[in-house]
Every structure is written in C-alpha cells, then in structure tokens.
Amino acid sequence: MSQSIVAVDRITKRFAGHTAVDALSLTVPPGVIYGLLGPNGAGKSTTIRMILNIYAPDSGTVRLFGEEGTGRDHSGRIGYLPEERGLYPKMRVLDVLLFLAELKGVDRRAARPKALDWLARLGLSDWRLRKVNELSKGMQQKVQFISTILHEPDLLVMDEAFAGLDPVNSQVLKDTVLELRGRGKTILFSTHIMEQAEKVCDHVCIIARGKKLVDGTLADIKRTHGGRHVAIAFDGSGGDSAAAAVLADRKLIAKANDYGQYAELELAPGADAQEILRRLVGAGVRLSRFEQVEPTLTKIFIDLVGPDAARAAAVPEAAAHA
C-alpha cells in the first residue's frame, strides 16, 4: 500500500577483516511487527545500528519513513531499546526519563505528565524520585522501556527485545507492543528466540552470517518453506477413484502417500494447496480433513541456518560487536 517505514538497500558493514553484514536488503511496511531473526553473531545488532545511523554502512543505503535523512535525523520518531540495557545509575528515575525525552526533541514540560503517567501504569510511581540504582533489575527494565516509547515513536526498534526480561515484564512488553501496533505504529525487533517471533510477528527476515536467507510475511515464508505438505482424510463415502485422478496429477502433487482413508501429499513446485482442494471438491470427493501442515518457525529457522548457526557459534561474540 503506502511507503515502507524502513527500506534497507544492500547495506554492508565490515569490521577489521570480518564482514558483519553483507549486502543486506529488507523492507518494513507500516503498521507491522517485523522480526529480524538470526543466530548469535548473524549481524542483527549491526543491521539495527546501521538503520539507526549509530554505525554508517560501508556501502548501501537506509531510507526511513520514505524520507531523506539518517536515523538520527528522524530520532524523534524512533524509539530504540538496545540489546545491552543501561541507564544512568545515579540519576533519579524521572530525571532520566525527562532527559532521554529531551534528546528525542520533546519539551521537558510536555514529557513530564507523560512520564508520570507511564510510571503509574507500570506501578513505579513511588519510585520516580529514587535513583536508578536503587531499583531492582526488573524495575529498571520497565523504566528503560518507558524511555523508548515516551516520545510516542512511529517506529519502535528493539534489539533482542525479550532478552533478560522476567516473565512479568515480558508480558508487559508484549502487550504494549501489540497496543502500539494497534495504533498504527511499526515495530522492528530482533531475536534469536523463534517461539516468540512466531507468536507476534507479521513479517520476518531471517539472516545468518550477515546475509539474508529469507524474508516476507510469516504466512508466505511458512508456505514457501515447508508449507509443502498437505494431509487429507476421506470421509469414506466413495469417490476414491475421482480422488486418485487428482492425486496423480504431477503438476499439482509431487508425491502422494495414499493410505486409503488418509493421504499425505507433497506439493509440486509452484503448486497451490487451494487448487488441490478445489479439484478434489470439484471431483465430488468428500473430505473430512484438509490440512496444510505448517512447519514451525523454529523448524524453518533450523533448516535454513542450521549449519551456519554452528559455524557462527564458533565466532566469538565480541567479533560480531566490535
């Protein structure tokens, strides 16, 4: 439909003879939850830092909100939660929030009621005048999260979003993220935990060793990667011969295991499961079950990056961040 929120075009970043990100392109449409997935050391953080203009890419371009200017120029519209969390330990909670809002271009006076509101929502009102280092880790996480959304960004970028969060904060984060998406905001986050990504992402991009392996909507990816199996069951009222004719069509079905009342089909390349269903129904076959067997994201992920993940694990974490 409209302009993409983030358009990354063949960005490359090298660190001391090691290519962290290699000609990576991705597009984040507006109003989606976009997951940047990959094993440790895949280049997720480096990609995010280039999107935010913390690092300048060695080559390639990043375009935000369909407009000119770097991530820093648009920083007022972006909220960023880095992988390594941290606040000023000796500052008061409210002061930290106001300071970070100021850096996002929000006036202190305008930021104050919003900060107090958020602190109240997350149960931290009594702590607003305490120093950050007097708070528990979980509370600090909440404060940091408030700081990333206080200025009501259009784009929320979270690196390893759920890493290190306790279950309560994890829930708070997920709820807030979904609420933001509901208000038309765009969320880009990286993670290596596929179960989480599968639950919340609309779009994903899987990268390994700095290169993109696949991207698109979650549904598309499932369809194209392993969404190639269909299980059907006949209701036993005949029409088997009609079914056999459909199943024999090699343009639709690469392989079929017919057990009589139940069959497992592997789709031919380019074939659409919906077409098989239509043909079967059209031929008068009565079905009690028709199911596209979807692989989990975890399975797709391991299929795609399995060997790479093993190799990436051999690379020290520091090299990926250096």
């Binding site: 820093r72 941290g86 970070l100 271009g105």
Partner: protein, 424 residues
C-alpha cells in the same frame, strides 16, 4: 543545539547535586580562611608576653648585662636572671610545666666565646619568638665581642645600616602596587588553581564519558544526537560546574583578602623583627590578571577536557582509564612544576617557550603574567596557537570519541587510534 543543551543541563545539574560539589565548593574557601586565620592568630600570638628565665653560668658580668639589655630591647619578654646551679634546669622545667614560665635560656662563657646558648621552653615552635630571641642574642654577643677588642659599640651602631629592599612589580610604565612577595603568591596561587581545576574537571569529563560507555546508555544517546554534540555538551556542562566553583573560590578569596587586610597582619616591630615573618598578606588580584586567568583556564580546560573525553572513550574500565590518563596528567604537570622557574625569570627562554607551547601555556602564561608583563606579541601568539590547538585537538578527540564510545574490548594502540581518526 537543543539536544546539546539538554546534555549540558544534565551534566551540570547532576554534578551540582552531588555531595562532592558542595564539599569542594565550601571546603576551598574554608581552607583559605583557615590559612589566613591561622596567620592572623599567629601574628596575634607573637605580640603576647613571655616570661623567660635566664640561667646565667657565666663567670663575667656578661650575663647580667645581657639580661638588662635584652629585656630593654624586647619589651614583651619578661626576663629574670637566675645564677646557675646544678639543680636549676630541673626545677625550671617544673616551672615551665606548671606554666609559670614560658622557657629558660642557658648561657655560659662559651656563649661569648663560641656563640652557643641553649633555650628550653614551651614556645620553641613559635618562629617569631625564637627569631627575636636569636637576633637579640646575636646583636648583644656581637657588641660584647667588639667591646672586648676595644671597639666603640656606638661607632659600630652608627656604621651599621639596615637595608630594606622594596620590590615593586612594574606593568607597562606604571607601578602596580604589587610587591614581589605578592606577585609570587599570585603566581603560585594561580598555578595551583589552574592545575587542580583543569585536572579535576578534565577527569570529570573522562569519568562521565566512561559512565555512559560502561552503562551502555551511550548507544541510546548516539541514536538521538551526534557524538560531537554529546561530547560538546559534556565538556561545556562539566566546565560550567568548574566556572561556578572557581567563581565561588575567587569571590571568597577577594572577600577574605579584604578581611585579612583589615585585621592587619603586619607590624612585626621590635628588635631585629624581620618584618616578613607572619606578614602573610593575601595578594590583591588586578582585573587584567583575572581576565588572563579566566581566559586561559577556559582554553586550557577545553583542550584537556577534549583529550580526557577521548581517553574515556577509548577505555573500557575505570582502571584502564586511570592508567591511560597518566601521560595527559604528566603533560599538564610540566608547566605546574616549572612555575618556580617562570617566576624566577619571567623573561627567560624557558618562560617564553612555556607561554607558546599550547599544552603548557594555559598554566604557564597566567603564572608568567603574574610575575611580569608579557609582550603583547607573545601574548597574542600564545592565545592564537592555543586557540588553533584547541580546535585541532577537539576535532581529533571527537573522531576518537565517536568510534571509541561504541567499542568494547581491548584499548586501541596508537596505530588503531590513527585509523579511528582517519575513518570517515
């Protein structure tokens, strides 16, 4: 600019809120007041009466004469002559302990022959008392020895004349009304203040950079504003704290110097009182000196703060940073330790070079100015070189800062630093 201002504001407010700021701000003048106060007290104590016994073991009339003449010369010394007996010193010690006596002087024939005498008392640490006593003894022994040779003491007294060398600092073509001692004190004070202030506030910038790096908050900051804006904000913010603190110190110094002048610490008087003793006078600081001081403090601070910011950025831990800043501190120490040389000969080639070399001129120039006027050409050259260096160093430091704040792991070597600076 608004974001830089937010950084300045944070840096300033957070620093002013710490206890250390208040301790430093208040303790500085208190320390000064303490020094001046103790000088005043000392001066007051000097005028106090002392009762001293003179234990006379001489076989001549010298002991008797000495007692009368010394008592006449130093009226605040109340002297009693006691003929020497083996038990006298012990019994007198009891008197001193009971505070009936401040002390006792032991004289014998060898006082006249070899100039030896002994004083035991509770006031031996009083420089003024001892100096007066010693001076008085010297004169009397001197006179007695002359007399023994048949020389008229009156003649000697007439021939003898005390030289009083008045030292006045010349600035331009007029006298500044500053004495040599005051010039020295001004220079000394400025050297300490500049060294300490530049060092403290520079290190503050360093630890502030390091704090943001170790807490990882720097990544959030850098996604919002340019590294240079952040660095500039820090340097200005910490510098503003310095200005406030220095202002408090200088104003209180002015007030205190006025107060100490009113209380009058001078007037040693008496026989052989050399005037300088206890004559601590807080120097009057002329406005031009103050302007030079503030100007060079600011430029020197900016120069070193930029370097300290880079040092903070290239380190990963507090310990590493402390180690890395040692060369910087040594660089700043050079003009500080050579301030005596500069004061001694403000127009020597050492002093001139120190004024021109930008890493040293922030301390050396005000010190030199405090001692002697600097030719305008040299002053302009010094300022110009310093300004250019501040700009250049800030540029280099900001390049190192930009790369360093996002770096973890080992500290870069010089080659790597060079690459950071060159990096686009």
């Amino acid at each position: 600019m608004r974001k830089t201002f937010a950084v300045i504001r944070r840096e300033f407010i957070e620093r002013v809120r710490t206890q250390w700021f208040w301790v430093g701000t208040i303790l500085g003048p208190l320390l000064m007041a303490g020094i001046i106060g103790s000088q005043v007290l000392l001066a007051a104590r000097k005028a106090g009466d002392r009762s001293i016994a003179i234990v006379d073991a001489t076989t001549t009339r010298f002991g008797q004469e000495l007692t009368t003449q010394l008592g006449a010369a130093i009226t605040r010394f109340h002297l009693t002559r006691i003929p020497h007996a083996p038990s006298t010193p012990d019994s007198l010690l009891g008197e001193v302990e009971a505070k009936h006596l401040d002390g006792f002087l032991l004289i014998s024939d060898s006082t006249l022959e070899f100039g030896t005498a002994e004083y035991r008392g509770s006031n031996v640490s009083s420089v003024a008392d001892m100096e007066q006593l010693e001076n008085g003894l010297r004169r009397l022994v001197f006179a007695a020895r002359l007399e023994r040779r048949g020389i008229d003491t009156l003649l000697v007294q007439q021939a003898e004349i005390r030289i009083r060398l008045a030292t006045h600092k010349v600035s331009g073509r007029k006298l500044t009304g500053e004495s040599g001692t005051q010039s020295f004190l001004t220079g000394f004070g400025m050297a300490i203040l500049l060294f300490v202030a530049i060092l403290i506030y520079g290190v503050n910038v360093m630890s502030s950079v390091l704090e943001e790096k170790t807490t990882k908050i720097v990544e959030v900051l850098i996604s919002s504003l340019r590294p240079f804006e952040l660095m500039l904000g820090k340097v200005i913010g910490a510098g503003a704290v310095g200005i406030v603190q220095l202002t408090v110190w200088i104003v209180s110094a002015k007030v205190l110097s006025g107060a100490s002048a009113r209380m009058g610490t001078g007037g040693a008087g008496g026989l052989g009182g050399p005037g300088a003793v206890g004559g601590f006078q807080f120097p009057q600081i002329p406005t031009t000196t103050l302007i030079i001081f503030v100007l060079y403090f600011l430029l020197g601070y900016f120069l070193y703060a930029a370097i300290y910011a880079a040092v903070g950025a290239m380190s990963s831990t507090e310990a590493e940073a402390r180690q890395a800043q040692v060369p910087v501190q040594l660089l700043l120490m050079i003009p500080y330790v050579s301030f005596f040389g500069i004061l001694n000969d403000p127009n020597s080639s050492l002093a001139v070079w120190m004024t021109l070399i930008p890493f040293w001129s922030p301390i050396a120039t005000p010190v030199r100015w405090g001692a002697s006027p600097i030719p305008v050409v040299e002053l302009v050259a010094s300022l110009a070189i310093l300004l250019v260096t501040v700009a250049g160093v800030t540029w280099v430091a900001s390049r190192i800062y930009r790369v360093g704040i996002l770096m973890t792991g080992k500290r870069p070597n010089l080659k790597e630093l060079f690459r950071w600076v060159r990096a686009a």
